[in-house]
């Protein structure tokens, strides 16, 4: 059955004809590019080396899809551009007297003790390209100093003379009244990439808004090159196919929107996997799920409540503050390629350094000699095979682990076991970070494990953390690409809206929310499906730092919100008080429900169940196993699932593997 057992929160906005169509999802990683083709409720996947390019993956998927599909891609293009400091020459226009907003930032340094490094990363806009405009809006939106036409002209001329590719505009209090920003933007809009703060991040706190807006401007010219290449590759294999990009909030956006807001793609890859997890969580009615995506260099985890990913803001990317709605993924430097090493006082460490794709783990036989988690996996017999035609060399893995063991007084096998245990501890810490710290009991969560290494290790982490259940989805090794296929066209937006809840002009708040929804709906230019809306307010006790998001529907009233907030606060922080509550922001997520259901792989061909044996236990063919007790290794062409002693595994009709405490 291809419908969600858990109804999606939100109410239908208006109904439009639906256009179900095949989807091709593409997730480009460091070593492999994963492609999933979802068509009529079934899915197929393939992996191609990333070196071969997007075109190769699409060409190979051409044979697997009938008709013209939509192509949805996760991209790390913008992320990499920022990390590699490949930014366009960009100008920033701010309120006069505040042109140094990026230089001053929040005035803190990133590292407390290292005198050898710069206090902060260099801003995306150099100081000589920051311009002040004589104008002033007050905190309530009242213009205090008018922006004259002459001043607009002067600033526009100065920016033009600077010869930049991109311009960011961020004026004080523009979240309360964007008129001055809009006028400046109109005058600056002549052939350069333009990013305006009230359209990028309409929230209070000028540095975070300016940083986000400026960085967004600085990557607009770059994403253009990527998007053009993507469109060409798509046109070669699927002429006329519409294409989309996955954004940090775990939905997809049109290419046109990605051109205006490229910074919204910085969590594209992880968000796609989380989006697929959300679909699974709703399908199986998992009230609390945590995605565990363990790849080559890192493990990404994210909590989902009632099938909705927890969201976060104020992320750091390459030292820059990025304040855009995003799934709250925590990333730790423990992946399959993470190097195990002994530090200066003789303690065993794992990561954060990774052997990368080249040379990769020793077992890859590409010249790597340092022991990695993957080498430890091979030695312990956890590896059933690896996708993409890579052979694993056990001898090389053993040599690498033996070298590590000799420094610790351990055998190669003992060193491998210790390496894996340390990696598990790091993953457990990340899991606690996203659950326990938010007031959720980790033990009551279901782990949803995917990525190449996730299904090998999640079972052991679950046993040690007291987690009852792990779900390893079908297509676990290409799950993020599946997430691309399942993404909904969605936009999340937030705007500052300050009021005391007990004195609030409720119709005004509702108007604010409706305005936000209307703006998003207009941006979506929907002609694809039913529009759905989830509205919420950010609330806090007066003077508190953090806010909690509380949903708003037609029934909501200040009294109901107060009760809902108290309940959330008690759950997250352990107490609630009768202090005044403040509204700080209005949020909305608007998405298009195209009726895209779940996509399960076609049943596997029949064959032997047992296909081999390792020192860990029997190796079984993943698709053929109904129920098995650990230790066992379930493997297919692309993925390996490890069932640990004390655990059972069963496979459901869609090919998902459930690990449970025996």
């Amino acid at each position: 059955m291809l419908y969600d057992r858990f109804p999606v929160r939100g109410n239908s906005f208006r109904s439009v004809k639906t256009m179900p169509e095949a989807r091709v999802g593409v997730d480009a990683g460091g070593t492999f590019t994963d492609v999933v083709i979802a068509d009529g409720g079934t899915a197929q996947s393939l992996k191609v080396p990333t070196d071969a390019g997007l075109g190769e993956g699409l060409a190979r998927s051409r044979r697997l899809v009938a008709g013209s599909p939509a192509v949805v891609a996760g991209t790390t293009w913008v992320t990499n551009a920022v990390l590699e400091k490949k930014l366009a020459r960009t100008a920033l226009v701010t309120t006069e007297g505040f042109a140094d907003v990026l230089e001053i930032g929040r005035q803190a340094r990133d590292d407390l003790y290292d005198l050898g490094r710069s206090a902060r990363v260099a801003p995306p806009v150099p100081r000589e390209l920051c311009f002040g405009a004589a104008e002033r809006i007050g905190p309530d939106g009242t213009p205090l100093v008018p922006l004259t036409s002459k001043e607009v002209e002067r600033v526009a001329a100065a920016v033009r003379a600077a010869g930049v590719e991109a311009v960011a505009v961020c004026l004080l209090h523009s979240y309360a009244n964007p008129e001055h920003e809009a006028r400046l933007a109109a005058a600056l809009d002549d052939g350069v990439a333009l990013s305006v703060s009230h359209r990028v991040s309409r929230e209070r706190r000028e540095f975070e808004r300016a940083s986000t807006t400026a960085l967004n401007a600085a990557v607009i010219p770059l994403i253009d090159r990527y998007l053009r290449a993507q469109e060409e590759a798509i046109a070669d294999s699927f002429p006329g196919a519409p294409s989309f990009v996955v954004h940090s909030g775990g939905g997809m956006m049109t290419v046109a929107r990605a051109r205006l807001l490229p910074l919204a793609t910085v969590m594209s890859g992880p968000a796609a996997g989380v989006a697929a997890t959300a679909r699974l969580a709703r399908r199986f009615g998992l009230a609390r799920a945590v995605s565990v995506d363990m790849g080559g260099t890192s493990t990404d985890v994210c909590l989902l409540r009632d099938g909705i990913p927890v969201s976060a803001r104020d992320r750091r990317l390459g030292g820059h503050v990025v304040r855009l709605p995003a799934v709250a993924v925590e990333s730790i430097g423990a992946g399959g390629g993470s190097v195990a090493w002994v530090d200066d006082v003789g303690a065993l460490r794992v990561g954060p350094r990774s052997a990368g794709a080249v040379p990769g783990p020793a077992a890859y036989g590409r010249g790597g000699v340092e022991p990695t988690v993957t080498d430890a996996d091979v030695l312990l017999g956890l590896q059933g095979g690896v996708g993409g035609g890579l052979e694993l060399n056990e001898e090389l893995a053993r040599e690498a682990c033996a070298r590590l063991g000799s420094r610790l007084g351990l055998s190669a096998e003992e060193a491998a076991r210790a390496t894996v245990e340390v990696a598990h501890a790091q993953i457990e810490r990340a899991l606690r970070l996203v659950t326990v710290r938010r007031g959720h009991d980790l033990r009551a969560c279901t782990l949803v494990a995917y990525g190449g290494a996730g299904p090998m290790h999640a079972g052991a982490v679950a046993l040690s953390a007291g987690v009852e259940r792990v779900l390893v989805p079908a297509l676990s090794s290409t799950f993020s690409a599946l997430g691309c296929c399942l993404s909904e066209l969605a936009i999340d937006d937030v705007r500052t809206c300050l009021a005391r809840l007990d004195q609030v002009d409720w119709p005004r708040v509702e108007r604010e929310l409706e305005g936000l929804v209307g703006e998003i709906a207009a941006t979506l230019e929907n002609d694809r499906g039913a529009l759905r809306v989830f509205r919420s307010l950010e609330l806090r006790y007066r003077d508190q730092n953090d806010t909690l998001e509380v949903g708003v529907d037609g029934e909501s009233s200040p009294a109901a919100l107060r009760a809902a907030f108290a309940e959330r606060h008690r759950s997250e922080f352990g107490y609630a008080t009768d202090e005044p509550i403040e509204v700080t922001a209005a949020r909305a997520r608007v998405w298009i429900d195209e009726g895209t259901g779940w996509a399960a792989p076609a049943p596997a061909p029949r064959g032997d169940v047992e296909v081999g044996e390792t020192v860990f236990g029997p190796v079984l063919r993943r698709g053929a196993v109904k129920l098995v007790e650990g230790p066992a290794v379930l493997a297919d062409a692309l993925s390996t699932v490890v069932v640990w002693p004390g655990q059972t595994a069963h496979t459901d009709e869609d090919g998902n593997v459930w690990l449970e405490r025996a």
Binding site: G97, F98, A99, D100, V101, E103, I104, G105, R106, Q107, A108, R109, D111, L112, Y113, D114, L115, G116, S118, A119, R120, R127, G138, P139, L172, H173, Y175, R204, R205, E206, D344, V345, A347, L348, R349, L408, L410, A418, T419, E421, V422, A425, Q426, E428, R429, R432, L433, R437, S464, Y541, R542, D543, Q544, N545, D546, F573, G574, Y575, T577, E579
Partner: protein
């Protein structure tokens, strides 16, 4: 019992995670802007003896101080009187203290019925009573003018708040409602840490956890010893001075002799000036905190902050001096002004031993401007330039060394206080010239929109500029200005005045010193 390498790392991970999470718990729930926006707080875990095991990436000054707090608590309250669920609060300088606004919440954590650890959460309260709102009294001559002194006092027990002492505290501070919220947040933070530690004990066994905690401390000690062994043996002297003590106009000098012998070092501050009349005095704990900071910054940024870091470092101070002034001395500014000057004196001494690793002088001051308007306080620090080094230029507008408190955004100030920020910009050219330039200071301009307000400042480096190194020029000194009725007047760096509507206050912070002849 022999720990296997995996167990060591697993327990280390778990312990560090608890210490780091505390800060977020506290920041998320605290009420005062100085905590929630500026993050002026720190947290630590100690073992049963009160020795710190793990601390978050917080404020260096606090971290040094927290190394002593729980140990001193045990000297006042014997362990047999501590009960599960207790939370003691203290700001007593003698109890591993620094200054009265930094109030520590200390919870004993029990396992199997015996004391196993302490969870400590330090928060800067925007007011602890005293002669002026905000508890910064530049002209204070005694600690009693600086606010309520809280010797270790149990404010929470297993069955909830201890209302009587809590009322006593709240009756003596301004903004009682907000303070109650902060106190509750501090207690809740230690309670969450307690819960997490119980899980760690249950998962790994108390014995193994204790052993790992010992090992963590030993590792830091080993790393310090190894780093010291790389410093040439010898005696290195350094000094630097504060502009004044807030009461008079004479500089106040800190002198240190660093004696390195093999893998040990002695830091002798006994040549420093006698106790000051005004609030720039400080405690031996701050001297030790400053030493710990400099050792990490100059010798090994990777050394974990715990009790082991201090074991091979001997810190000597003279009773009756600036750094050990006795129980009645005022010391509110010593925490963030004098501590920075101690760092300067230490860096100047170490510049003779390891010149390539030392940076020139910078804005070694909180640059504090405290506006009190009605019942509201805005406690705002101002960063300046950092000093240049042999390797690179200094940084502009950055908090250095012992502090890392953030600013409050202009948009937050303007929505929450009757103030308008007219400018917030770099002071171009204020960094000292040199082969590598010092970083620039900044300028922030405040206009008062309320009928009346009070401004208290603690701005150092206004007379004695940040020093250049190896022939580099000094940075520009700091300044505070008042513009009233079209006239501009220089204010004292440490002072307190009444303001009225349309007054304009300009805070200019010092640039960093340059390195090498230009």
């Amino acid at each position: 019992m022999r720990l296997d390498p995996a167990q060591l790392e697993v327990i280390r991970e778990a312990t560090t995670a608890v210490a780091e999470e505390m800060k977020f718990d506290l920041m998320r729930t605290a009420r005062s802007p100085v905590l929630r926006e500026a993050g002026d707080l720190s947290c630590a875990l100690t073992d049963a003896a009160g020795r710190t095991v793990a601390q978050g990436q917080d404020i260096p000054m606090h971290l040094g101080v927290l190394s002593f707090t729980a140990r001193r608590l045990l000297e006042t309250v014997p362990p047999e009187r501590l009960l599960p669920g207790d939370v003691y609060f203290t700001n007593l300088p003698a109890c591993g203290g620094n200054h009265l606004p930094d109030v520590k919440a200390i919870r004993p954590v029990f396992a199997d019925g015996s004391l196993a650890a302490f969870a400590v959460a330090l928060a800067h309260w925007p007011d602890v009573g005293g002669a002026l709102p905000g508890s910064y009294v530049p002209y204070a001559r005694e600690i009693y003018q600086e606010g309520l002194v809280i010797p270790p006092t149990r404010l929470f027990a297993a069955d909830g708040p201890c209302e009587e002492p809590l009322r006593l505290v709240l009756a003596n501070v301004r903004g009682a409602e907000q303070r109650r919220g902060d106190i509750q947040a501090q207690a809740a933070t230690t309670s969450i840490a307690d819960k997490r530690l119980q899980e760690v004990f249950a998962a790994h066994g108390l014995e193994a956890v204790r052993e790992v905690w010992e090992r963590m401390q030993d590792e830091s000690e080993q790393r310090v010893r190894r780093a010291l062994a790389g410093v040439p043996d010898g005696r290195y002297e350094g000094e630097d001075a504060l502009d004044d003590d807030g009461v008079g106009n004479e500089p106040v000098t800190i002198r240190v002799a660093v004696m390195v012998t093999g893998d040990r070092a002695v830091f002798d501050f006994r040549g420093s000036d006698p106790a000051a009349r005004g609030p720039v005095n400080t405690t031996p704990f701050i001297a030790a905190a400053s030493v710990a900071y400099v050792v990490r910054a100059v010798l090994g940024p990777e050394i974990a902050s715990n009790d082991g870091l201090l074991r091979s470092l001997e810190v000597l101070t003279e009773p009756g001096s600036l750094l050990d002034p006795g129980p009645a001395a005022p010391l509110v500014a010593g925490n963030h002004e004098t501590s920075q000057r101690i760092v300067d004196a230490l860096l100047r001494a170490l510049a003779q031993a390891v010149p390539e690793r030392v940076v020139a002088g910078g804005m070694g001051s909180s640059g504090l401007a405290l506006f009190s308007i009605g019942d509201d306080f805005l406690y705002e620090t101002h960063a300046g330039g950092s000093g240049a080094s042999a390797e690179r230029d200094g940084d502009a507008a950055v908090r250095i060394h012992m502090s890392n408190v953030m600013n409050t955004p202009t948009e937050v100030i303007e929505t929450e206080y009757p103030l308008r920020i007219e400018r917030h910009e770099l002071r171009t050219g204020s960094g000292g010239a040199g082969r590598h330039r010092g970083g620039d200071g900044l300028r922030r301009v405040y206009r008062v929109l309320a009928k009346e307000a009070r401004l208290t400042t603690m701005v150092e480096r206004a007379r004695i500029a940040p020093w250049g190194l190896a022939g580099g020029a000094d940075g520009e000194p700091s300044a505070v200005w008042l513009e009233r009725d079209g006239e501009r007047k220089a204010l004292r760096g440490k002072g307190s005045i009444e303001l009225r509507r349309d007054d304009v206050v300009i805070v200019e912070t010092a640039g960093g010193g340059g390195w090498g002849a230009a």
